[in-house]
């Protein structure tokens, strides 16, 4: 419990720093947002008025504090290109991304661990070699290309699964429809992280299997299955879990490509569009929300690891 509190406290400065980075990076862009909004033919008068409206005439530190105060109250400003509150748009988009990334994270955790353990158990056997090679291919594949191949194969030629969107345009809706639309993007998104987790699990298991307590468990006559899946795996999991936390970041970020390929209405695609239209408020809001939720997810991974490993004490 004490540990939980301490970790929670440690998250606060990280979140603050995060907002500082996001704000300072995007607040002092070359070219000012007012011109971007009003277009190149705006009169200086209009620009100045808009600047005052946006609070851009105040010193940077004050601007930041005002902005921070606003986002703490849930006010991320308005998106000028969509003409709606940033937070509404971001939350709507982010929930779509969460569905996609969550599914992918589940898949890669499951498959990555299964493959990694299988490799370690059959070290240097043919299945190990094959799977190790597959894992290298997995971490090397551009997911935007893999997504296109998947669409070609499963949507265009086989016509098994829809190629784009989250729901069917006509008569869509419901969980079954969502799952049908989710399969290809989630699989595509999970491939790289599966490769990473498999490789790591393999080496973590090999590392653990060499340790004394494995030999000691064998000396006690404990069956090989139990030695590997209970003793060794339990110890290896302590190193695997933080990597899953890190992979969550890769999956969340990598969702940008997959969302673009599959036209998934997620926050990544929103950000790309916002960047192209120079909709700074929207970019800021999107980045802050996604990054903050990633920090919180890592906090969870950390607490899970803590629950698993009694040695980490405050």
């Amino acid at each position: 419990m004490r540990y939980c509190l301490k970790r929670l406290m440690a998250v606060v400065p990280v979140l603050l720093g995060l907002t500082v980075i996001v704000f300072s990076m995007l607040a002092f862009l070359p070219g000012d947002p007012a011109t971007a909004i009003l277009g190149p033919y705006a009169t200086p008068d209009n620009v100045e008025r808009l600047n005052r409206q946006l609070g851009l005439d105040k010193p940077p530190a004050q601007q930041y504090l005002i902005w921070l105060g606003n986002i703490l109250q849930g006010d991320f400003g308005r998106s000028y290109s969509l003409n709606r509150p940033v937070l509404d748009e971001v939350l709507e988009r982010f929930s779509a991304t969460l569905v996609l990334a969550g599914a992918a994270l589940l898949l890669c955790t499951l498959w990555g661990i299964l493959i990694g353990v299988r490799c370690a158990v059959a070290q240097y056997g043919w299945s190990d070699r094959l799977l190790t090679l597959a894992a290298v291919a997995g971490i090397s594949v551009p997911s935007f290309w893999l997504g296109l191949l998947a669409i070609l194969a499963f949507s265009v030629h086989l016509r098994w699964l829809p190629a784009s969107g989250m729901f069917a345009v006509y008569g869509g809706g419901g969980a079954a429809d969502l799952v049908r639309h989710l399969i290809l993007p989630a699989l595509t998104l999970s491939v790289v992280a599966t490769g990473v987790i498999a490789r790591l699990t393999r080496s973590a298991m090999l590392e653990v299997l060499r340790q004394d307590f494995v030999c000691a468990a064998r000396a006690r006559g404990i069956g090989e299955r139990r030695v590997i899946y209970r003793h060794a795996f339990k110890a290896a999991l302590v190193t695997i879990i933080p990597v899953i936390g890190v992979q969550a970041g890769f999956v969340l970020g990598g969702a940008v490509y997959v969302e673009t390929v599959f036209q998934w209405p997620g926050v990544g695609r929103m950000l790309v569009q916002a960047i192209s239209t120079r909709d700074i408020q929207l970019v800021q809001g999107g980045v802050v929300v996604v990054a903050a939720s990633y920090v919180l997810f890592n906090l969870l991974a950390d607490l899970a690891q803590h629950a698993l490993d009694p040695k980490i004490k405050t």
Partner: protein, 633 residues
Amino acid sequence: MSGARFAASFAALGALLLRHRLAGLGALVLLVVAALAAAAPLLPLPNPDLTDLANRLQRPGAPGHPLGTDHLGRDLLARLVWGTRLSLAVGVFASLIAALAGSCIGIAAGFFGGRTDNLLMRGIDMLMAFPYILLALAIVAALGPGLLNALYAVAIVNIPFFARSVRGATAAIAHREFVDAARLAGMRNWRIIGGEILPNVAPVITIAMSTTIGWMILETAGLSFLGLGSQPPQADLGSMLGEGRNLLINAPHVSVVPGAMIFVVVVSINLLGDGVRDWLDPRLRAGQLSRPAAVTRIERADAGAAHRPDGALLQVRGLRTRFVSAGARTQYAVNGVDLTVDAGQCLGLIGESGSGKSVTALSLLGLAPSPPAVIGGGRVYLAGEDLLAADFERLRAIRGRRVAYIFQNPMAALHPLMTVGAQLTEAIRCHRRMPRQAALDEALGLLRQVRMPGAAARARQYPHELSGGMRQRVGIALALANAPELVIADEPTTALDVTVQAQILQLLAQLRRERNLALIFVTHDFAVLSQLCDRVAVMYAGRIVESGPTHDILARPAHPYTAGLIRCAPRLGGGRRPAAIPGLPPAADRLPRGCAFAPRCARRREACEAGKVASTRLSAARRVRCLYPLEAA
């Protein structure tokens, strides 16, 4: 060089070759691709930006366009080569920038430590709080779309990775002697960093580069794919893919081909990177990351020859164990060991570290880790049954049930994440089926038998919550869990404090008497051994050099090595340890032809080094392996 040796190292060697062959393949592919990309201006290719709307969307194989054309009729092969050139260049530059900036930060943090370190690493942590690609997106948003900006973004995102690993490597050597010496000599900081630190962290930087360059190529291509990287008419592989995406259904080759190129390049880089890591990481190179099998590999050269076991509980005859690893000389750790233990008897197995006593102890139940261990010959009879011929299930039924081990370091031998009680009940229930509660009751009984104070509370604790002495009591309780006939204790008190040592020894003596246990007690210390053991076997360079009743040998040692060991033993009741035996035991990979002790022996004569010294009978109970023993027969 024998077939058996080769076969033993075959698996590891095969894997090594395979990995290196894959790395070689990666290097080859990469070389060809890079050469083509570099030579792009010289190749007889059409202008990649030349539009030809009459010939748009030609399929691969069209005349004059081996890979076809895109929606503007531009030649895809030419675009592919030029795009690869651009993507490779961008990836390499991004990785150089990240390596440079990250290494500077890492070296500064690791070298100066303290405040600087704290400040820099907090900053790095901050960057790592962002999901990887999101940060790159934010940076591109700030700088504006463009290939150069994408390059910077990807480089910045990768800085933390370099900074962290380089900082670790720097901090590890920042206070080593040679660095301190340079400081004392008045060398400037930057000269120390350039002359002493940099060469030492270079492998780390190389490893980090080999890990990240593939990512960087992927990520820059990805940003271009999103339309945030290279802008038309300039095209790298990613933007080719992005432009071709809209034609996916009618002309898939326009987007599939550049994607395949990215994939091939990145796979090659990663295969090569794995090879580089294998080569630079000494642990991987030594093949130490191979998984020990459940039973030691057994390749007995003397499979036909049988001994007739007599009535002893344990009889070991001619046991040989060697360590075989690819790329290293074979180590002969155990070279024909004979041991006999009767029911209820305690045998002390004594020798310096490296004498092969622990390997002998582990080999008895096939627990020596293989790879690299191979049992090359001999018999281990338990009540007449040859354990080295038993199948795994048979062996498993004996492990822990009839023969149990106590290990030297109880902290390492206990599972760190399981409670004491869980480990005990597991040990009980894996040999005797019983309800959990009954096993737990039995476990508490065992803890009481090993005089564990507050047994019930301790059972709920984890190993790290116990003291060293208590942990070893748990180790003993685990060994006794199924009332074995024979316990093999491998230096069970070496890792403990002196006072705790005495308590554990007392406990072992007591339990042995109460349960009529047979015990093999492995140690390097005659003082410890004399308290507990009826008989002694002295081991040197993988052989038993002397054996007999403890009191007899203590009083009148026959082998010069035994005499030396006794002289070295700390006297019971205090007194300083006299000088150890001068010299070192021979390396297990180059044993001398004659007596292995000869280089350290004061009684050595010419005959000692001429040939193998046989073990001779000294009296009914004693044997010695020496040509000129201190005690005559």
